[in-house]
Symmetry: C2
Subunit: 251 residues, 2 copies
DNA sequence: ACTCACTTCGTACGGTGTACCGTATCGGAC
DNA sequence: GTCCGATACGGTACACCGTACGAAGTGAGT
């Protein structure tokens, strides 16, 4: 009789999948739409980029696009779905490596593309926390990464793990690198201001006796270049060196 | 004259640091407090654990503790600060490794403790996105990890990178592993229901022709054990193998 | 006994996502 | 050309959020 309206059942799931994979047919029979789905997604991304993902709201997206808030719901079932579309759009920008390159160069290309994607779309960092959306561009990129890792000749289980490691590593590095700047953009507080606001800690509670290792690394300049390009590529190299060794041992 | 009330300046920063590091003196001169700061933090963690971090609200925490919503603000400046206290509390549960063990065993111990922490507190996954709080328990654990990695004898910059890699890797693995279950707990939709709701995708848009690599890995059972303990320990091993080789080459 | 710092919490404000529904707009059928 | 009905638009409303404000009650110090 009265079915629950918030169910995630097959109905909503199917609607989302269609939205991602099928171009929505331009509806005949009614007044013409003022916008396109693409414009809505782009507008949302612009709002998220300019004001930060925390400030993203349906009302703000609508205002940015010059329509009423509720009008968005004719393009998109809800905010969550809009977010999935935004994610897939971001992944659409990822280029694929030249298939004639050796596997390692291809994987490194993928990693650099992922890094660039997170740099260009910091709001992504706050997303993939949920499930990765089953969007076409997401899957195409992942498929190609799996293809590249398969070139190693390693067993399937290992390939799945390695591909996951590469994606997770880049994501983790991007998260750390982007966090500071995005927080700054959101609150208008610069990184220096933040540290200054917390400096009472350094003078009061931080003592070299309690934190000798950190103090030592600090004095050696070990924290100076934290999360530059060099830092995350160092991790990638470490990772791929291990994979390469496994692959060599395999054959 | 009218100073901005939302400033993050030294005032608020100092208050937060004191809240984290100094036990709040039991206030004389007024009616006795009904709760303690510890109880507030514990209550918030219970709400986050039971209902999911998205459902965490000051009103719900207050109700859970049997007090009015606004009463919480006598213990804590705001929600953000409460969250930092929750994070530090979670880190407080991390045990430290036996210092007589070799460095690798110590680092692995740290990694396993981190994994256990994320398993026990899935709401953490949605947190560290901002800056890591400067809480005493967070810093004590990190200090000890740096100490353990320093035992390798590697240069300071490398030590900083390796420690970051280990933490980031465990976090990434935990994020992927925990996501499914936490979404289930939040929405009451099981993982199977979710996949069923999206199954129109598998029948309609997923074709082996478009995704040959994924299909191949799937057929080989490569995705079966995704994000079990074995999966993330595989990544850790790969990582530490590389570190070990660097350390050996060093001396 | 008085003072007054302090806790508690009801009320309220501006924000959110979005359900509901009246109104305007058009394509297709006649 | 006229009308029907599906559709887009968007105002209003509801439940919820974080939290500012202030009134009322409490209890130690004087």
């Amino acid at each position: 009789m009265d079915e629950p309206d918030t169910e995630w059942g097959t109905a909503e799931g199917r609607a989302m999948i269609r939205l991602l994979w099928d171009p929505p047919p331009p509806p005949a029979r009614g007044p013409r739409q003022r916008l396109t789905l693409d414009q809505v997604v782009s507008g949302a991304i612009e709002v998220a980029s300019q004001q930060g993902v925390d400030e993203l709201s349906m009302r703000k997206v609508a205002q940015h696009l010059g329509v009423g808030a509720m009008s968005l719901y004719t393009y998109v079932p809800g905010k969550e779905e809009l977010f999935e579309l935004m994610i897939d759009r971001a992944w659409a920008g990822r280029a694929l490596p030249d298939r004639t390159l050796p596997w390692r160069a291809q994987v490194e290309f993928h990693a650099r593309e992922a890094w660039a994607m997170y740099q260009a779309n910091p709001w992504l960092i706050r997303s993939n926390l949920w499930r990765m959306p089953l969007g076409p561009h997401v899957l195409d990129a992942q498929e190609d990464l799996y293809r590249a890792v398969l070139l190693t000749g390693l067993p399937a289980t290992t390939v799945a793990r390695v591909a996951g490691l590469v994606e997770a590593h880049v994501f983790g590095a991007a998260r750390s690198a982007v966090t500071d700047t995005s927080v700054s953009a959101r609150t208008g507080v610069t990184q220096d201001d933040y540290w200054e606001s917390r400096q009472s800690f350094w003078g009061t509670y931080y003592t070299p006796e309690r934190f000798p290792a950190m103090t030592h690394i600090w004095e050696q300049g070990g924290f100076d270049e934290e999360y530059s390009d060099a830092a995350w590529e160092f991790g990638l190299r470490l990772l791929l060196d291990g994979v390469e060794r496994m692959a060599d041992g395999e054959r």
